[in-house]
Assembly symmetry: C2
Homo-oligomer: 502 residues x 2
């Protein structure tokens, strides 16, 4: 135990000069880091097995800085975190739907974090609340909603956003389920969802008490978009069997290959049948800011609810997901609670601005600070640039793959998502399953080598490679190198396997 008092020890940590000094050290180290990473001077992912990383992390908690060495310890920990983290800003990172975010957005996020700006009630986060409101308007306008008649709120991630919107749909469809629970003895309600919908949709059904088995998969067309005539058939069947339909869940786009549903005819059907239309536009909602691609989400403005992730295709750091309600009055349907110490009878008009009324979160971080700061610096035109650039690179990759005889393209890209396989012609052809396994093995070796970061998926029941160009720094050369790396690893594997057989 040190001879200083607890209060003195604490005061040291809140010293403005120390904060500024360490903050500047951090920014210097980050500057170096981005210079290295953006130039691919190291590995994309520095692969370390989990138990080894956990042991290192554990060890860092067992020692603290010696007196007087806080800055050195700080540097050491920052360097360690950078070394063991994932380098999304390396142009060879084109993996998950998580962007090489615009670092300047992170600075505004940092401003919120250091000063701990939060919401729930307006007075706790007046600026956090206000920038969120202004961004809801901006994005809603771009999508084509009518200003003044819609509402929106930011929440921590697309899964939570889908849950919030479908909770609203459930409460509206089933009357008093919020207060009384599931009491009806009639046919069990269903969700009619795009067959490739993100797993959070089925999870939501599980969470909300509908049951994951009550998600009816709407069949897809040959481009893996929702088949509108199949949807009509299902809606008819539900009507005839008096099965309550909580919502139709469309995708813009669905995760596997980035397919955008035909939202206009789906909206027509939902209107005709009086069913809630929800769209998971987590990935695609951002195309509203691109003149070139906004057609992809035509009809989104007719959905009763939809979600858009700024931390995906608006290129801000995680998490910043928007839930939109076409009709403003639906915003209070998800939750119907009171908390007297939050919602103040001496100022009843304020509840309109209390975000806690609209989200699962009570205390909510200022999740929109990054998006706000970035938009205030660069204007929304930046988002069009980012969409156009990454979509274009995906098209270029597609053309490269089509021209390569040992690769197989599985679909034309509609966005920045592309699924394909390495599939060379061999004297003894590989079975479909063997091709799938080969591709998964290639990927694992590829990412653990640190050369590239891409992901894998299933396509028609077998493994395939999946790229999502979430990095605007990725150039043609990187894409050509990717094909070369896959080919090299694949050929090595095939040689080894045939040697093992022989």
């Amino acid at each position: 135990m040190s001879a200083t008092s607890a209060r003195d020890r604490i005061r040291t940590l809140y010293d403005p000069e120390l904060i500024e000094a360490l903050g500047k050290r951090l920014m210097h180290l980050l500057g170096q880091h981005f210079a290295t990473v953006e130039n691919s001077a190291g590995n994309v992912l520095n692969w370390v097995p989990p138990e080894e990383n956990i042991a290192t992390a554990r060890a860092t908690l067992e020692h603290s800085a010696e007196p007087g060495t806080l800055p050195e310890r700080f540097d050491e920990m920052v360097r360690l975190a950078l070394r063991r983290g994932h380098n999304l800003h390396d142009p060879r990172y084109i993996g998950h739907q998580v962007p090489a975010s615009v670092p300047l957005a992170g600075l505004f996020d940092a401003l919120g974090s250091l000063t701990n700006q939060v919401m729930a009630i307006y007075e706790m986060g007046p600026w956090a609340t206000s920038v969120e409101r202004a961004l809801v308007e901006l994005w809603g306008d771009a999508i084509g909603l009518d200003r003044g008649t819609f509402a929106g709120v930011v929440t921590h991630g697309g899964s939570l956003a889908n849950l919030t919107a479908l909770l609203t749909a459930r409460n509206i469809a089933l009357g008093d389920v919020w207060t009384r629970g599931f009491t009806s003895s009639g046919p069990a309600p269903v969700l009619l969802a795009h067959a490739d919908a993100h797993y959070s949709i089925a999870r939501t059904a599980g969470i909300l008490g509908l049951g994951t088995g009550q998600v009816v998969k709407v069949p897809l067309d040959d481009r893996r978009r929702m088949d509108v005539s199949a949807l009509r058939t299902l809606l008819m069947q539900c009507r005839q069997s008096k099965i309550p339909v909580i919502a139709v869940v469309a995708c813009a786009c669905a995760t596997p290959i980035g397919a955008f549903d035909p939202l206009v005819p789906i909206a027509d059907l939902c209107e005709e049948f009086g069913v809630w239309m929800h769209v998971d536009a987590a990935h695609g909602g951002a195309v509203a800011f691109s003149e070139k691609h906004k057609e992809l989400i035509a009809g989104l403005e007719r959905a009763d609810s939809f979600i858009c992730d700024a931390h995906k295709t608006l290129f801000v750091p995680a998490l910043c997901a928007f839930v939109f309600y076409r009709q403003r009055e639906h915003r209070f349907e998800a939750f119907r609670q009171d908390a007297p110490y939050l919602f103040d009878p001496s100022s009843p008009g304020m509840a309109e601005y209390d975000s806690g009324m609209l989200t699962v979160e009570c205390t909510k971080r200022a999740a929109a600070y990054g998006l706000w700061g970035l938009t205030a610096l660069c204007g929304p035109g930046l988002f069009g640039d980012l969409i156009d650039t990454t979509f274009e690179q995906t098209r270029i990759l597609y053309e490269l793959l089509r021209a390569a005889p040992d690769f197989e393209t599985l679909h034309e890209p509609q966005s920045n998502i592309l699924v394909f396989r390495y599939h060379p012609e061999l004297a003894t052809p590989l079975s479909a399953e063997q091709v799938g396994d080969l591709n998964r093995q290639i990927r694992r070796e590829l990412i653990e080598s640190g050369e590239f970061y891409i992901v894998q998926t299933m396509f028609n029941g077998t493994g395939a490679l999946r790229v999502c160009v979430m990095n605007p720094l990725t150039e043609l050369q990187h894409l050509e190198d990717l094909l070369a790396s896959i080919r090299r690893i694949g050929q090595n594997r095939i040689s080894k396997d045939s040697a093992a057989v022989a």
Copy 2:
């Protein structure tokens, strides 16, 4: 439209030198900000009505930086956000259960944010996953769980943490509800919850399909702790009526006055009746790090699940909430989904390290970076210092109030939460309701003046003032000044009201 290409415009924003330069500007402005705020040189809260703030925010989105003026625009936006935000680091901020967080934790949060470290699967956030694991161990050990037999995970906020744990309890209690939904025709299941439990508990019941009306409030004793004999009676009644009990929900502590439930006898009862014990230790779980106060949560280690918010009493920025399961094998019970592109059959052992299996979030930000960095710098002893200091200040405030004839203390503080009223003796005594209204009016005037930030609550049906000392910089002088300000505003109000009557 500028003549530059989209790609050029984007490259400018990712320039490492620009990031470093603007980052250092930010840190300089934050250094100035903390110096001002910690010395109370301005207002705690710069009160601006919502519509005015929203109009300003809207205007910032309508203009972007002119070419070459990015740094100036950046400064301007940072200053604006600081000016319109809430100054939690002012020692006169002693309001909600949101701390004047240790700013150094925010620096590690910023590191995660600028480089966009996320989780869901291990390979996306190897270091994020590892530090979270190490912190789960550290906190679980401090609480007294058996290393190797428990599990935990970080999620975005206490409400989501409660939801996750109670979803687990529901799935275990009700068998196939996850897949089939609510199908039983027997008596509707209930939650037996502390009568003052946070509103997220009732909300959880609404979300999970149990119904908010199925939350049975367990009566409280004279210190507003759960009455153990009343709990026994309720458990007996449920058993006799064959009503399934999803969980008993205890609090450590409950929000209104910070009352800690007697966890040991509650654990005994839950064991006896074979009922899941959940504890909302969002606020109190941190006392595990205080030698002086750890007794308050004796028995927490016997709960089947509990939650602890690092973004409350471990003084890190929002959001960083921990869910703990005493039995490791329960960690996979909340969600039972697959997503082939996430969970890789070529590396099946990895699923153990994929956080997405355990949380509502799919993509999850590196929410534990701040806590990790702070602990690695200062060691967990810091948390004991913070708890002891803030609890002690609350006791001091309590003594000040007891010595003041025109204030009414409503309970002895068990933690850093204290509820009281300004209640002067008047020639014509005020009714209980009038005292409540007066206190609410005082608070509103007080916070809008920027002098102090405290909150309000209901106590025995009427309004009261509530302080939560979430600021280790608050000194005796601030507390004395608080009483003086309340008194001044209160007396003014009373004079005005009597003038109006006369």
